[in-house]
């Protein structure tokens, strides 16, 4: 029996329960809808995107919502690992569409089974895509004969150069040229190692596709790139960790030379024409971010509607017209302003386009080696 003096505790409990109930109902009603209103004849419900900042601009989302009646909710992430971590933690639930980079999809799917295959028949007009890109994505994201990704946007990383200070730059090797000591920035991540390997005459992507079992060979290559980068460390002002950090360093003239994304370079060019994005002679590193459907996605109709919507050239053009990244949709550049077109064409003459080195999926064992060396590089003292 409860006595009167227990009123205090009861009140406390009532408060706890109320708080819980309130926060629950006010915040997640939308998600509950998505749970229940899964498949109807009419489009509607909610579409929960897990994507990068810039991939879901307000204007496009508004347009899509108006066309379909679907309510779009966007969660932004800042790292491929965040997509995988979130989906891993929820067993692939909680989101309807994610945008991992294609080289991450296969491994994540094999290890954690967090995605579901793409139903290609529901892509209305697959021919609108640049074929070589679409094929590459299909190839890289196939697990057990099923394709898990279609391309969303792509881009490269190469060299961003302040030509007023460093006019002659054309190779990854120039990052380590002593004349730029203290005026160089790049990430302490795999792309930097990839660039170094290319500069040393290796092809890491071909290697990981052709010899996925050869961990020792991979390690040897990484070791060599590591030694090269440690020697190079005194050249580096700092390892940038975000797009904006790279922009700040270059725009303020604190660094002259950077390994970074093309889109970053073009944003800088618009402010300072001396700064250019260059595809190095070894080849720019090509990445593709994808549309990949989490295993627990609810509103598949809306998912495919969204993919098809984004594959319309005018929408693809709208998405990429800021010059942050490129679209795999043919004709999207028709909707670009002239100055962006010029910048992109200047950076990518025919030869450079053909020379893009696409990131390929890596086996888990390779990634472990990569992580190890990334950290070793950060610990190493500059020479």
């Amino acid at each position: 029996m409860l006595k009167r003096r227990n009123l205090f505790s009861l009140t406390v409990w009532a408060c706890v329960i109320l708080t819980t109930a309130c926060s629950g109902t006010t915040t997640d009603t939308a998600a509950t809808d998505a749970d229940t209103a899964a498949t109807g004849d009419e489009l509607g419900g909610t579409l929960r995107l897990l994507t990068w900042e810039g991939y879901a601009p307000d204007e496009l989302i508004a347009k899509f919502e108006e066309e379909t009646g679907v309510d779009v909710e966007v969660t932004y992430i800042a790292d491929n690992g965040e997509i995988i971590s979130k989906l891993k933690a929820t067993g692939g639930e909680g989101y309807d569409l994610a945008s991992p980079s294609v080289d991450n999809v296969k491994l994540a799917q094999e290890q954690f089974n967090i995605y579901q295959p793409i139903d290609m028949s529901r892509i209305e007009n697959p021919d609108v895509l640049v074929q070589s890109l679409a094929e590459k994505v299909a190839e890289y994201s196939t697990v057990d004969g099923e394709v898990y990704s279609v391309p969303a946007v792509w881009g490269t990383s190469g060299l961003i150069v302040n030509t007023a200070e460093a006019p002659e730059v054309k190779s990854y090797k120039d990052l380590c040229d002593p004349q730029f000591a203290g005026r160089v920035t790049y990430r302490s991540r795999f792309p930097t190692f990839a660039g170094a390997m290319l500069a040393l005459g290796y092809d890491p992507f071909k290697f990981s596709l052709e010899e996925p079992e050869n961990v020792d060979g991979w390690r040897a290559m990484m070791e060599e790139a590591y030694t090269y980068l440690v020697d190079c460390k005194s050249n580096v002002k700092t390892y940038w960790t975000s797009r904006q950090e790279n922009i700040d360093l270059m725009a303020k003239g604190e660094t002259y030379l950077s390994q970074g994304w093309d889109g970053t370079g073009w944003v800088l060019s618009q402010e300072n024409p001396d700064i250019k994005f260059i595809a190095p002679v070894e080849g720019a590193l090509g990445w593709v971010d994808t549309f990949t459907i989490p295993a627990g996605a609810k509103n598949l109709d809306a998912v495919y509607a969204f993919i098809n919507f984004m594959y319309r050239p005018e929408n693809a053009g709208e998405l990429t017209k800021g010059g942050g990244f490129l679209s795999p949709v043919k004709g999207s550049t028709d909707y670009w302003p002239e100055e962006i077109k010029v910048l992109v064409e200047e950076s990518f003459p025919e030869s450079a386009l053909n020379n893009i080195q696409w990131y390929a999926p890596r086996p888990a064992a390779f990634d472990e080696v990569v992580n190890e060396y990334v950290e070793k590089l950060q610990v190493a003292e500059a020479n």
């Binding site: 205090f8 926060s23 509950t32």
Partner: protein
């Protein structure tokens, strides 16, 4: 507790009594304040700079970053995403504060009044939450939530779990964010409240009961008013800790970002003085809350 409050002779007897020491003291205080306020002062200043970048030199005064009439510069009051994030942060912070105050008070009573076997271990576990990196708290909670859903589904069947909304509650979203933040901010609140409860002269409660109050009434009429300064400061600390939390929130957040999360993704992508404008708001807000807690804490403190 308060010693004699007559004009204190110790003022002269402090180790800084010599004139040069007095000068030195004020130089130190000035440097200290400079250290504290120079970075923030510049952040605040640049919120009013008529420039697209948050950087010197000064290009004239503007309020564009607060209320941009044209829409070219997204003034924070014309930016639905920013306003939405502020609202979300507010909601989360209020939820966390409510939980912290209620649970913190019960926990404080338990630790101070009813020591039970294992209470020391529980206390240690509580304090340990402050040490665990926030990211790990978040990840652990997220995967536990998922485990709960999976297990419940196996037991009760998917429709039932969906119907009571559990699955959406335990997915990344504000509910989990509140729980995650509370899981360690609650420790701060408990420590603050327990600290004051320890000094509470328990005879007062006994006197109240002796005069005919039930235990509940005694606590409500005598103990809680005594705890009020601690409750106010625990509330303010909880609110502000929640409002600025980033690490734990990162993994638990769904589609409604809190302010720090929005900051983080914005700062990675582009920096405009908009961020400075929000900072100014936050500073003003923090200062007012601090003032409130000091004034309330002081007024309600029977110790003066």
């Amino acid at each position: 507790m308060n010693p004699i409050s007559s004009p204190s002779p110790a003022r002269l007897a402090t180790p800084f009594a010599l004139p040069w020491a007095k000068l030195l003291r004020w130089i130190y205080v000035a440097l200290f304040l400079l250290y504290l306020y120079l970075p923030l002062g510049i952040v605040a200043l640049l919120a009013f700079n008529d420039s697209d970048l948050p950087a010197l030199p000064w290009r004239g005064f503007t309020l564009d970053w607060f209320f941009d009439p044209t829409g070219d510069r997204k003034g924070i009051f014309n930016d639905p995403q920013m306003l939405g994030a502020m609202g979300t942060s507010l909601l989360v912070a209020l939820g966390v504060t409510a939980l912290c105050l209620v649970v913190g008070t019960t926990a404080a009573f338990l630790f101070e009044r009813y020591p039970f076997p294992g209470s020391a271990a529980l206390y240690f576990a509580m304090v340990a939450t402050i040490v665990i990196p926030g990211v790990i708290l978040g990840v652990a909670l997220l995967s536990t939530g998922n485990l709960v859903i999976t297990v419940l589904r196996d037991w009760l069947g998917r429709p039932f779990v969906s119907a009571i909304g559990l699955s959406s509650l335990l997915r990344p979203g504000l509910f989990l964010v509140i729980l995650g933040q509370f899981s360690f901010i609650g420790a701060l609140a408990t420590i603050i409240i327990a600290g004051r409860l320890r000094r509470f002269p328990i005879e007062q409660e006994r006197a109240a009961m002796d005069l005919g109050a039930t235990r509940f009434q005694a606590i409500l009429r005598v103990t809680v008013p005594y705890l009020m300064p601690a409750l106010v400061s625990a509330g303010v600390v909880s609110f502000l800790s929640s409002f600025e939390n980033f690490n734990t929130t990162l993994f638990l957040i769904g589609n409604q970002p809190t302010l720090p999360i929005l900051f983080f993704s914005r700062l990675r992508f582009e920096i405009t003085p908009q961020i400075n404008a929000v900072s100014v708001l936050l500073m003003v807000g923090a200062m007012s809350l601090g003032l409130l807690s000091l004034l309330l804490g002081r007024r309600n403190s029977p110790e003066g």
